[in-house]
């Protein structure tokens, strides 16, 4: 049984192509039905940055072709047009790729957390539709474990990767937590909206939006369930708020150091965190000199983000090692599958012989008491187990070294066992209707 991965990601395909290859819930269900129609196992991972199909099938080349056809059908593009954007990986390389993906190592921002949920969702869909079998169950469960291990054992996901997240995290270095904190938004823009949303998601309470026009401020405030005020009331608000996010297009400073100094006297030592993402800046840089005031402008925040992302990359080296060890483990398990049927057949044969010989001797053993009979059963079972123990261990070891198939064939030949890979042998997974 081979593991085959065919897919594309942001590294190979522009967004125009990726959107043609994106699966929603219903499309994915249909794809899983088609890909597993011949009894193969399948799972489809589809995010805004990647679409990948994982198949566990006896014939790797045929599985690859089937995924190519599926993606061509989905996108409406020919195989030739799609081919340069697609990559194919098999067995250990495919497992390592999924483990790296789950760990966030293949993401645009190393260590981003969303991908682990998306891998879980892909596995859930494959499980629900019955498209996942033993190989993909093991693969995806292990991938989810790798994702968790990497985030627990390394600091890859700990530092923020965006200006808004960095601003919120810095605020948490000043305040015990952001629950119930008051936020003052000066002006509005995409980054300040994201920052406010990030602060709210961490529990921030009341939002006050200040603008030259009170009507405009109130309109903006409605988005955050807050209230709007005019700029002339900003100094008054400075006495109450904990975080100020400034992003107006004003030409001068809207908040002076003198205003903040006056407000700080009324605050009785309570700190304030200023996030000034406006250019030109809205807050006088001298504010940072005041006791209890912390001011970060857009350059400061971008430096913090760059440093955080660099930190994530350093941690990625450790995460790669975890993914690699887990991929080796998966590969060893996958190879052991080659010898499992031979071992099972060998044990069945031995057990059948043991049973038959006991039955043949039943006449001679008839005079034994139930206790003596149990002792004979146990003795013969132990002899069989001890004889088969070493061959079983050796075959599993050989499987891990990729010689498993040779050993399995030899055992089948020597003991005249049935080959489950033979065309007329019964299969464990029936083709899906």
């Amino acid at each position: 049984m081979h593991l085959v991965l065919v897919g594309t990601s942001y590294q190979r395909a522009p967004v125009e192509l990726r959107e043609l290859l994106a699966y929603d819930r219903e499309l994915r269900r249909g794809a899983l039905d088609r890909l597993s129609a011949d009894g193969s196992e399948s799972a489809v991972l589809s995010t805004c940055n990647r679409t990948e199909a994982y198949l566990a099938a006896p014939d790797a080349a045929a599985a690859e072709e089937r995924v190519h056809a599926e993606l061509a059908s989905l996108s409406g593009l020919s195989g030739t047009e799609l081919a340069p954007a697609l990559y194919t990986l098999t067995d250990g390389a495919a497992a390592l790729h999924l483990f790296r993906v789950a760990a966030g190592l293949d993401s645009m921002v190393p260590g981003e957390a969303q991908i682990l949920g998306q891998v879980r969702e892909a596995y859930g869909a494959a499980r629900e539709t019955g498209a996942a079998g033993p190989v993909l169950h093991r693969l995806f469960r292990q991938a989810l474990r790798v994702g968790k291990r990497v985030r627990t054992e390394t600091a890859i996901g700990e530092n923020p990767a965006s200006v808004s997240a960095a601003a919120a995290e810095l605020a948490e270095r000043v305040f015990e937590d952001l629950a119930g904190r008051r936020i003052l938004l000066l002006g509005a823009g995409k980054t300040s909206d994201l920052t406010a949303a990030n602060l709210i998601s961490r529990g921030a309470g009341e939002i006050v939006v200040a603008n030259r026009s009170v009507e405009r401020a109130e309109a903006l405030a409605r988005r955050f369930n807050g209230r709007g005020i005019g700029l002339e009331r900003v100094e008054e608000e400075l006495e109450r708020v904990d975080v100020v996010v400034a992003s107006t297009s004003a030409q001068g400073h809207l908040i002076s150091a003198e205003q903040v100094a006056r407000a700080m006297r009324a605050r009785r030592g309570r700190p304030v965190f200023f996030i000034d993402i406006a250019v030109p800046r809205d807050v006088d840089p001298a504010v940072n000199q005041l006791d209890g005031c912390y001011l970060y402008d857009i350059d400061d925040l971008e430096r913090v983000v760059a440093e955080s992302v660099a930190g994530r990359r350093e941690e990625a080296v450790r995460a790669e090692a975890i993914a690699s060890v887990e991929a080796d483990d998966f590969r060893a398990w996958q190879l052991s599958l080659d010898v499992v049927p031979a071992i099972a057949s060998l044990r069945e044969r031995a057990e059948a012989i043991r049973r038959a010989e006991l039955e043949r001797a039943a006449g001679r053993l008839g005079s034994l008491s139930p206790g003596q009979r149990r002792a004979v059963e146990s003795l013969t079972a132990q002899i069989v187990n001890k004889l088969l123990h070493q061959p079983t261990v050796r075959m599993k070891e050989a499987a891990a070294a990729a010689d498993g198939v040779l050993y399995a064939d030899a055992v089948r030949h020597l003991f005249a066992l049935e080959d489950p890979r033979a065309p007329d042998a019964p299969s464990n997974r029936q083709p899906r209707q």
Binding site: V174, P271, G292, R303
Partner: protein, 266 residues
């Protein structure tokens, strides 16, 4: 007998604290890697020191930590014990950088002057010393923890003010947490010192004796910490100013513990 046992327990305690100090320092360079080693160093060191103190108490005829060196031993145990209560939690791990080297150094100092292995037994009764010395040491241990918190506050405040790009790399408690924890620690330690001073003065009144420099500086330290709490409540003193006040109080504690007390023996 107790000497041999004490040696067996003393060095593991020092080794545990020193290992924790080194591991905490290493953890600042590579966050998350050495912190388990540090925490286990603190735990095992403290257990070894606890066993050491129990052995000393079991074999002593009287209060075994009445000398300056002996009291250092007890003081270190109290500081590390207080740190163990919450210091090992993730956001406060950096406190270990301040506490553990100090603990290892003071313990070695106590050993160097003979108070860690075979402490001198006090000439005074147990009850007075248990309360007076015990409460004073508990108060000083609290002030030491408060000073470590204040130091961490000043360091974190400076990093945030300087807008260091690596400011988020190290997990440190928020400024607000450090500030309020330092205040709460002082609020617990100050009554302990107040009681110790009260008991000391009561004894001075009944048994006689003179008012010395140790008492004067202890009173001054008490006044600084009392002023800190009053200013905090009445004038809203928080943040950097308050941290500096805690540190100045600790300078007086150091003066009492390391400069003046060696000349005092109960």
């Amino acid at each position: 007998m107790v000497g041999e046992l004490a040696v067996v327990l003393f060095w593991p305690a020092v080794a545990g604290y020193a290992e924790a100090a080194v591991a905490y320092a290493g953890d600042t360079l590579r966050p998350g890697r050495l912190v388990r080693w540090a925490i286990w160093g603190v735990r095992l060191g403290w257990l070894a020191q606890t066993a050491l103190l129990v052995a000393q108490a079991a074999h002593a005829d009287g209060f075994p930590w009445g000398s300056w060196a002996g009291s250092l031993n007890l003081f270190v145990w109290m500081c590390v014990g207080a740190y163990l209560v919450w210091g090992c939690r993730a956001p406060f791990r950096l406190l270990g950088l301040a506490i553990m080297p100090l603990a290892a150094l003071l313990l070695v100092l106590a050993w160097a002057v003979g108070g860690a292995v075979e402490p001198e037994t006090s000439q005074f009764g147990d009850v007075f010393l248990v309360f007076h010395v015990g409460l004073a040491l508990a108060g000083f241990a609290g002030f030491t923890i408060a000073a470590a918190l204040a130091l961490l506050y000043v360091w974190q405040d400076r990093r945030l003010k300087r807008r260091a790009p690596r400011v988020l790399r190290l997990r440190a408690p928020s400024l607000e947490t450090l500030d309020s924890l330092a205040a709460r620690t002082v609020a617990v330690a100050l009554p302990a010192l107040t009681l110790a001073i009260g008991i000391g003065f009561a004894r001075l009144g009944t048994d006689g004796g003179s008012f010395d420099a140790t008492m004067a500086v202890t009173l001054l330290a008490w006044a600084v910490y009392a002023a800190y709490l009053v200013l905090r409540v009445e004038a809203g003193w928080r943040g950097r100013r308050a941290a500096y006040l805690v540190l100045s109080g600790f300078a007086l504690v150091v003066l009492v513990r390391l400069v003046l007390t060696p000349f005092t023996h109960f």
